[in-house]
Amino acid sequence: MIQYIIRRLLLMLPTLAGITLLVFSVMAMAPGGIGANLMTRGGDMRPEERAAMVAYLNQRYGLDQPMSVQYLRWLNNVLPIGYTSTPSGEREFGFKQPDLGMSFVKNRPVLDLVADALPITLLLNALTVPFVFIGSIMMGVYTARFRGQALDVGIGTANLALWSIPTIWMGVMLIGFFASEQYLKWFPTSGLESMRADSWTFLPTHTPDGWQHGYLLDLLWHMVLPVICLTYSGFAFLTKLTRSAVLENLSADYARTARAKGASAQVVLWRHVFRNSLLPLITVAASILPGLLVGSVIVESIFSIDGMGKLVVEAVQMRDRELVLSITLITGMLTLFSYLLMDICYALADPRVSYE
């Protein structure tokens, strides 16, 4: 087992190098060049200012060097082993601090940007994923149990309908009807906290002016609409997956045996069948993990939330190479790790799988 894990870990290195090389080449080949977009945000710029800016970026990030040199330099920077230049200008080979570099556009360390955006995305997903999974497992099991009946058809149709609604439309409708004074002003329209949340306590408190709902409730209150947007379309797929897995196992021999030895329908369903139906769900769970880290750009931009989705899309649009490469590296690494984890989980969950 340990040998297997080590082999898999070593295999990751060329895979990651391949991924970053591919992304790097695509960025390098994109028309307009890397620095082009840096010029537009400022709008009007005098020629001498533009020339100064181009020269500055070239000098600072080595953009005038050949592409291969630029890639190797970047690779050297992100690796924990490599060349460093000493203050005296000499090059030394050895262990060093990996450096993900600076975002061209935002002029901040990439790590800081990711550290700002990732917790927000994780928080949103931490609320969304349990809803989606618990909801679809329940629905999947019951639709399988009452196959062909009104409940099955109803849930199936409803999920299909939800799945077909575009998020962008749903988001705008939710804001229009549930965050507008013209209709129902139940929720805030954008952001993750109220303007004055800074000065509030964490938990709800009673003040002389009345109840003040506090930082935590304020945050949750702001997250209701985004979480609805992230959740509703996720049910369909997982429900169908659970339903087919449960159906398959319900008609399996061991389920009949269990029933024959006198186990109640509930026990057969939940203790025997349900557990064996979880395997495909593990597969899916591992494959959606990288997606969760990248976030949803649509939901984030509708509700003005600064998560990973917007960071990634903005980086690509602005050709912010260091940022794109670093996020690719991080998500690539996490994807490969989650695949490894999934394979290990298989071995643990299914006695037939072994890596010896």
Partner: protein, 628 residues
Amino acid sequence: MGNRFGVKDLLLYLFLTAILASIWLAMVQIDRQWEFISLTEEQLEEQTKDIAEIRRRLQRGMIPSAGYQNRDDNESGLNANTKSWRGFERALQAQQQPDYAQGDWLVDYFPDNLLTLTPSISSDTYAAAVQQRVLDTLITRDPETLEWLPLVAESWQISDDGLTIRFKIRDGVTFADGEPLTAEDVAFTHRFVMDERIAAPRWRASLARITEVTAEGNEAVFRYEEPYFGTFELAGTLPILAEHFYGRYLESVEAAEEFNRSTGLLFGSGPYRLENPSAWTPDQGIVLVRNDRYWGAAQPPFERIVYKVIQNDAALLTEFRNGDIDFYRARPLDYRELKDDAEVAKRAQSFQYYDARGGYAYIAWNQLNDGTPTRFADKRVRQALTYLTDRDRITNEVMLGYATPANGPFNPLGKQLNPDLPTRQFDLDKARSLLAEAGYEDRDGDGILESAEGEPFRFKLSYPSGSDDYKRIVLLLKDLYVQAGIILEPDPLDWPLMLKALESKTYDAISLAWSSGFEIDLFQFFHSSQMATGGDNFINYASPELDALIDQARAEMDESKRMPLWHQAHEVLWEDQPYTFLMRRSRLDFVDRRIQNIQRVAAGLNSPGLWQMPTEWYVPAPMQKYQD
């Protein structure tokens, strides 16, 4: 079987996760409180210093000399001795209103995130809008007459050759922490920006014209090598940075690097300040609080100016309807609908106006593609196309009347525009005869013009993709041009491709817009020296006559002599039509009703976001909505 993972375990894990998440959130909250406490401590320290200073002065029998002394003993607020306070005249007049009151917040919005608020490394207009409220400049403009008024500078003197400008710094100007602002700080600002270690290449390039800035007593002296009409504005509108705050970033390379990476080092002497001027990050939200030590004659009315970031259009409109933001900058279609909306009319005032600094949209005709002259190199062709470009239909049909036709690069609200030049009206016959003169005729009877070589007149008009207005204008032009037998092919381009086309100058024609200022310099766009790669004369237009006029006007320091030169330059452009000037958009703003004293002025609106200008807007006490 019995000890396998069950529903109860699942609940337990969920419970544990919830607890961990709450602990994490609680830690975040504690962090915020810690920040709040350290801020309070800082403020307390500053106040203690202030009290000590006042006590010292009282013991010596000195009267505190800071600020504007004549305010109390003079009813009108101004007399002959306080001529140097003219920059505050309008704000003081606003304070004379019977319902004037301090307090309340102004809630504005930005459609995009700010990257950094640190001056000199920020590059977007949003950061500039915030910095304008926090950093002071030496002089400001009168929004009605557009003449220069003293602000931090009490008076100024320009040498006869125009190469030395001396600004006398007013006594008693202090930064937001109570430290005095001196001529040293002005000199420091220049030194700071010019330091190669600071990542301000853009600002550095624009200040390169200044040879040196020195502090001589209470005077800040700017020196130049050559006369240029913009030198006074360049010096006078330099945002003043505090040496005691920014100075430490010049001490070492690491410190400079820390500055370059900062997100919110914003500190100055303006009417508003950041609550925590050294550690702002984009996730904190943009909140400016009133600078209670503001040195000016008129104290700022709003307690806070808050900028929300709202990226989605639907959310933006909903927030405005809900009253969560005080502004809504509409597009023509929105404006027409919302203007008559009873709900909106009840809570908002609408303004349609032209900004004296508003830019213009144009079509640029490339005269030299890949080294060979294009058909647009012929003046008659460009004139004919201008005759075909029905600007009245563009402004009325596409812009719904919320734009005005442009006939040159100069703003009609400024003094540079030559008022004697008419705008060419749509004239199919004139266009046809000009094109025939230039050798374009329909030789094969298919309705399309051909050149003498039999090549049909067909060209690509590039425009920024994703802009609905441009798209509609280009489609209208296609219909108009085809009447004269010219085929226009719309060519929407993404920004990077657009910039590449401009740089390599491989395009037929491009429709874009330039932003503008009170007095603009034509050098950048139309001087033949700017045809070099990277210059903004990307149409390869060269006119020795215009070059000479531009050179003369730039070196002329006397406005009364310079304006006739700009008028002549305008005439050359009008005749040559290197661009077909399209239109100037009007600004369409909705502002919350509770905000009073919004006036139309020559420059546009007397809005607090216009430029360094003491705020004239206020909310009467009974209408105030937010309190600290």
